[in-house]
Amino acid sequence: MKLLPFEYATRNLGRSPVRLFLTVFGSALVVLLIMVAGSFMVGMQAALDVSGSQKNIMLLGAGSVESVERSEVGMDTPGIVAGSISGFRTRAGIEGVSPEIHIQMPLKVGDEDRLVLIRGVRSEAFLVHDQVSITSGHAPRSGRNEMVVGKLAARTLGFNDAKDAIDTTIMLDDDAYTISGILEADGGIVESEVWTSLTDLQITSQRDTLSCVIVALDSAKPSDLEMFAASRIDLELVAISEDEYFSALSKFYKPIEMMVVMTCIMIAIGGMLGGFNSTYAAFASRVREVGTLQTLGYQRGAIALSLVQESILSSSVGAIIACGIAIFTLDGFSIRFSMGTFTLSMTAGIIALGIGSGLLLGVIGAIAPALRCLRLPIPEALRASE
């Protein structure tokens, strides 16, 4: 089969600058919409898809397995647990039993309150949550009203570069706290939290109970903790693995996530329909041209291929423009929500999605009108108006 030269497709693009502009603009808009929708979905799912460690067991107040913030555990529980069960992870004589308070409280930034999840911890927390590390500054010291902020929490507090937050003083309730460091946790939900000393948080929040006790297992088994919770009915505890807790939490947020996913999908479909409409119109009117090419001896397949080449060229230019806009203006844009802060990340996957949809738009957008043009007998096609 004799193919049309590639130059034919490229030169054709310049024949009608208005049409070229409309097609490129249309496909750029569609690809941008799809990329934004995709990164929003991925960002939200990543924020919710926090899998805790199966080796970490949470001891929560009975009846509070749905929310650690609702849970209340006695202050003496960590000591009783450590004394009753052996086989927890131990480093330098410190046992992996972390008493914690989880509470949403507003941090005052300027005149505005920014609601952040604050976790009151002791040093054992860094042994239990071993994916958490302090990348700048130092851990909060008890009695000094210090806090470390997650990378995403720093954004919530108005610091684009988390390091700028260090040494800043922030009001929590009526107490002044100093940011002493930045914590990271491989992109997990902890990065949208603020950690402070357990005792300091107890004083500020006027709490005399813990939210939970989290233990890191070594040779001990989850069933040991379940047995302990079942036998010590006076403590009113329930044992659940961190993994199970977070998957239940994900289920709670599922309806909102589904709503966002459906909206994103609809935006993408709407965009695609609009894009097809533009490309279809751009090619469907070229019946006579197609007839002429057939008269010159080019087979239908070759003509269709040339039209697809032309369409892919224009739509991929649009896709590249959209990728540029997305990377330079939208990458890293953070969105705050009650389950934490998440960012629009233009990852390799999202860029591939953008380029892929641009190419798909080009292929499908050209095939349908090309078929319509090629279906007509040559004399009829030659009689058709441009």
């Binding site: 409309l22 249309g26 107040g61 009975a62 009846g63 509070s64 397995v65 749905e66 929310s67 913030e69 609702r70 209340e72 555990v73 006695g74 509470i103 949403q104 409280m105 507003p106 309150d113 609601l115 309730d173 929040s205 006027q206 109970t209 009113e236 939490l249 709670f252 947020y253 599922k254 309806p255 909102i256 709503m259 909206t263 609809m266 935006i267 479909i269 709407g270 329909l273 609009g274 097809f276 409409n277 533009s278 279809y280 119109a281 469907a284 009117s285 705050r336 929500f337 009650s338 389950m339 349908a368 319509r372 108006s385």
Partner: protein, 385 residues
Amino acid sequence: MRTLRVIPTVLKQIKRSPIRSSLTLGGIAIAMFLFVMVESMRSGVQEATEMTAGETTLVVYRENRYCPFSSRLPQYYEDRIKQIDGVASVVPIQIHVSNCGASLDVVTFRGVPRDSIQHAIAKDGVIVEGSISDWKKRGDSAIVGSALAKRRGIKVGDLFSAAGIDVFVAGIQETSQAQDKNAAIVQLPFLQEAARKGGTGTIVTQFNVQVENHNNLELVASSIDETFAHDEHPTSTFPEKAFVGRAARDIVQLAEVAGMLAWGALAAVFALVANAVVLAMRDRVRDHAVLQTLGYTGWLIGWMVLLEGAIIALIGGLLGGLAAFLTVQFGQFNMTMEGVNIEMATGPSAAIMGVVLALGLGMFAALIPALRLARTDIATCFRAV
């Protein structure tokens, strides 16, 4: 009359390009579906958070607390609030939810003292099944809002369990208030004991205060906060709707972001109709020349173009608007955060507004091509062929 007689011709022209018309209609329908859904959500948020004249309810909450789990006020504050000038009545309320975060279909329990049940029932609330006296008879009984009962398939006499609380359904309340139709009212002592380890004794989440004169709402609110400013548990007092707006800030923020989406949807309708009409005009230059030869005036052809834009937008708008209206009607979507409920407005106003806007935008998008065509003389049309 001629302006109406051309309608069948316009319809035929739309049907002549079925693929292109379907793509345009599909795009418009999706855009209008999104617009109507977003508008229903925005109306719901507006209705729940914007103060209205004559509002007389204040909510007293723990200062700097947002979540019902962390707002803890001593129940004895009730007597001190009652003594403040301008206060008509005070109801201590314990709120219990499964989670403070924003989600759909969250069950909210409200614990109120047995003798204050009349104040806890919505102003327009009617007990359609069961009765208040049944509610008073059992300590673990609940009056369930109609929307919650419908969503969960709850009937009077059922045992109902959510957020770690087991209750007996003693009544169903029918009301138009989102806060009430999605909540279950239970007895305060029961909730205080059932919700927390060892019970919470005399701790409540908030006080709902009725003021005698709505003009004194702000004055009474500041008097309450001043009374407890130096207490162990200082308070923040807000008019009820302002409180809902504060608590459901994520949902309000979501509605604001969604508002941009609604504008985007309208822009998409405009772009799709404009694109469809402009491209159709380019294809039909010869048809217009023939029509002019047959005696159609330029203005009549322009009118036909305007009608084409309007019809495409109207059909697309009707499809999307109707689908969104039915989705909201059957879905009865209710978002909850920090124990307050916001419902998507189920009235037809958003759908009607969407269809009217689609029609207007369709005509507006077709206006310029129509005017250009109306001013083109027959010779120019033929030259373009």
